[in-house]
Symmetry: D2
Subunit: 224 residues, 4 copies
C-alpha cells in the first residue's frame, strides 16, 4: 500500500523506516482486521491506551508550549483540547461499556512498552524542540490513520475501532497534522530541509518511535 | 481592600507579598481608573500585551503538559484553548480598532520588562513543576481579577478594558484558577502544606512574579 | 539482605517497592555472581550500557540545571563530570578490550528496554522537579551499589565489574547520593516529608524505575 | 574594533546585532576601563553577578542535558564544573574581600534586569534546543571576552576584573565556546546553515540576549 497523503515529511520518513511495515501490519492489527484478536487482548490494549492518551495529551500540550507561531500554538492547543475533553471521556465510556470502570482504569499499572513510547515522545520534545516532538508523535497519529484506511470496511467485532480511525474526522486530523509538520519544517529549515543533517536526526526519531509502536502492539498480544 | 475570594493559596501569598499594593495600585492602573492614562501609553501596553499573551498561552500549555491528574490537564488545556482561540483573536481585533494592524503587532519588539515576566513564568514551570508554574502565573491571572473588581464601574475611556476583568466570565475564571491551585497543593502536599518549606519557596515565586508585574506596568508608563 | 545505609529515603522507597528483589536478584545478576552468564550477554549489556551512560549523564546534568541550592548544583555537576570525563572514556576502553571498538559502540541500536528506563528518568526530571529526578535515578545508582556489596568477593569472569560497584569509590558515591536525596527532601518538604502525598508519588517513581531496571537486565538475558 | 576570533557564528551574529556596541561600550564598561565607576556600583554589580552565576551554571548544565554528542556533553559539563567549583567559590571570596559575606550574598534580592537575562537564557534552552541555548549564552561568554580584550592593560581599580576576562584562560574558553557553537551548527544544519530560516531565529536570540545584557550593565549603573 502506498502512503496516504499526509504530507511530504511523513512520506519521506515512512520510506526511511524499516519497521514501518512491522508496525502497520503487526499481528495485533491483523487480528483487529480479521476479528481474530481475542477480546482479552483488546481490553488489555484499551486499558493501556487510556494511560497512553494522558501522556499523548501532555505531549501535544508541550508542543503548544514550544510552538513558535500563533498557528502552531493554535493547532497544538486544539489537539490537546480534543484529546482531553473529547477523546478521553469517550475512551472512559468505551471502557465502561466493556466492563472496565473508571477506578479500574485509574488502577492500571503502566506496561513497560507504554512507558517506553510515551516517555520517548515527551523526552524528545523536552530535550529537542517542536520538530523533534512532531517526528516522535507522527508514527502514532499518522500510522493509526494509515491502518484505519487499510482496515476500512473490514467489519467484525472491531469495526467501531476501525471506523474511528478510517473515518472522515480522523483522516482530516491526519492531513492537518501532516500540514502542520511540513509547515514547521519549512518555517525553521527552509524548502531544502530534507538535505540537512537535521533531517536525518528527525527521520531517526520517527524510526525509533515506530519501533516503540511495534512494542506497543506486541504488549497487547502478550498481555504484559 | 480585602482579597477577593480566589482561594486559600492566593490569600496567603498575597498577604506575604510586599509589592502587591504597588502592583494593584500602580499609577498605570490608577490612570486606567481615572481615565488620565494617555492613549499612547495604553497602545504601547496593548502591543506588548499581545506578545505577553503568546507566552502566557505557552505557559498554560506547559501547565497542561505537567498536570498530574486528568482534571489538571483539562483545566489547563481549556485555558490554553480560550487564550489561543478567543483572547488572542479578540486582542488582534481590539488592536486593529486602535489602528495597530496585525503586521505592526507582529513587528513589535519585546520590551525587557515583558521578557522578564514571561520568561520567569515559563522557566519556573520548566525548572520546577506544576506548583511553581501556578505560583508564577497567579499574580497575573488573579491580580487582574482583583484590579478589575476594584476599578469596576469607573467608566471613562478604559471602561471596556475594566469591564473585561471585572466581568462575570473573568471573575469565574479567577475562582476556577484559585480552586485549581488549592487542589494542586492539596494533591501534592496535603492539607498542612502552608507549614512546609515548599510553601515559602512558592510564596517567593509569587512575590518575584508580582515585582515583575510592577515592572510591566512601569514599562507602559515609560513607553520603553 | 538488609538495605545498605544509603539514607532514609532509599530505605523507605526500597521497602515499598515490590520489584526490588526481582531487580537486585535478577538471573542476569546471579549470572554475574556465579560467572555463568554467557559472554555474549555481557557484551550485549555493555553496548547498551554505553548508550545508557550518555542519557544518565544527561539526566544528572538536568539535575544540576534544576538544583535549588549551590550544594545541589555542585553535587550534580560533579557527577556529570565524573560520568562524562571518567566513566564514559573508561567504558569505551573496557569495550575496546572486549573487541567492541568506538565505531561499533556508536552504531549500537538502542534497545526498547533501554529507551524505556532512560527516557522515563529524563521525563520525570523534565516534567517534575529535582525530587522526581532523584527518585527515578535512585534505583540505578543505589541498586548497583547494593548489588555490588552483595556480590563482593564472588570472583570469576565478572570480578572486575563486581569490584567496581563493590569498591570504596562507588560505595562513597552511593552514600553521597543518599545524603543529597535526604537533604533535598528536607529542604523542600521538611522533616515529616514521608507523611505527605508527594512521598507516595516519589515512591511510585522509584517503583516504576525499578520495574524498568528489571527490564534492562532481562534485555541483557534475551539479547534483544 | 573588529570581532575577536571566536568563530563564524559569533562573527555573523555580532554583525547582525544593532545593540552590540551599546553592550560592549556601555558606560558601566567605560567606567571599568577608566576607573571612574563608583565602588558602590561595582559592588552592586558583584552581588547581582553572584545570582547570575548560579543561573548561568544551571544554563550550562541544561546544555549538557541537551547535548547530542559526547563531545557536546563533555564541553558543557566541563563549563558547569568550572563555574560551580571554581568561579563561584572565587566569586564568594572576592565579595568577602569587599566586605560582602556569604549571608549577604545569599540575601541579595534579584534585580529585574538579572531575572530578564537569566530566565531568557534558560527558557531559550528549555523551549528550543541546544542551538537556542548557545545563541542566548553567547553574548555573555563572548561579549565579556571581547570587552576584556579591549580593556586589557587599562590598569586602575578594576584591573583585576579586566585581567580575568583579558587573560589567557578566559580567552581560551571563548575560543572553545566559539568552536563548540560552530560545530553544533554544522552537526545539525550543515555547512550552509547561515542561509536557513533557523539562522535568522538564532541571530534574533543573540540580539535579544544582547539587549538584555545592556540592561544588566544599566542595572549596575542605576543601583536598582
Amino acid at each position: 500500500m502506498s502512503a496516504p497523503d499526509y504530507g511530504c515529511a511523513f512520506s519521506l520518513w515512512r520510506d526511511q523506516t524499516p519497521a514501518w511495515r512491522a508496525y502497520t501490519h503487526h499481528p495485533f492489527v491483523e487480528g483487529l482486521r480479521t476479528g481474530s484478536l481475542p477480546r482479552a487482548n483488546f481490553l488489555h490494549y484499551l486499558r493501556q491506551d487510556y494511560i497512553f492518551l494522558i501522556h499523548f495529551a501532555r505531549a501535544w500540550a508541550l508542543a503548544a508550549a514550544k510552538g513558535e507561531t500563533l498557528a502552531e500554538i493554535q493547532a497544538a492547543s486544539a489537539t490537546v483540547q480534543a484529546l482531553a475533553h473529547v477523546e478521553m471521556p469517550l475512551h472512559v465510556q468505551i471502557c465502561a461499556r466493556e466492563g472496565i470502570d473508571a477506578a479500574a482504569l485509574e488502577a492500571t499499572e503502566e506496561a513497560p512498552a507504554n512507558v517506553a513510547y510515551t516517555r520517548y515522545v515527551l523526552e524528545s520534545g523536552y530535550s529537542g524542540g517542536f520538530l523533534d516532538l512532531m517526528a516522535a508523535l507522527a508514527p502514532c497519529v499518522l500510522g493509526y490513520g494509515e491502518i484505519g484506511l487499510r482496515l476500512k470496511g473490514s467489519g467484525g467485532p472491531y469495526a467501531d475501532w476501525i471506523n474511528t480511525y478510517a473515518g472522515h474526522d480522523y483522516q482530516g486530523l491526519c492531513r492537518d497534522v501532516g500540514t502542520l509538520i511540513d509547515g514547521a519544517l519549512l518555517h525553521r529549515l527552509g524548502p531544502d530541509w530534507a538535505s540537512l543533517p537535521r533531517a536525518g536526526h528527525l527521520s531517526q526519531r520517527f524510526a525509533t518511535a515506530t519501533r516503540l509502536e511495534v512494542g506497543f502492539w506486541q504488549m497487547g498480544l502478550d498481555l504484559r
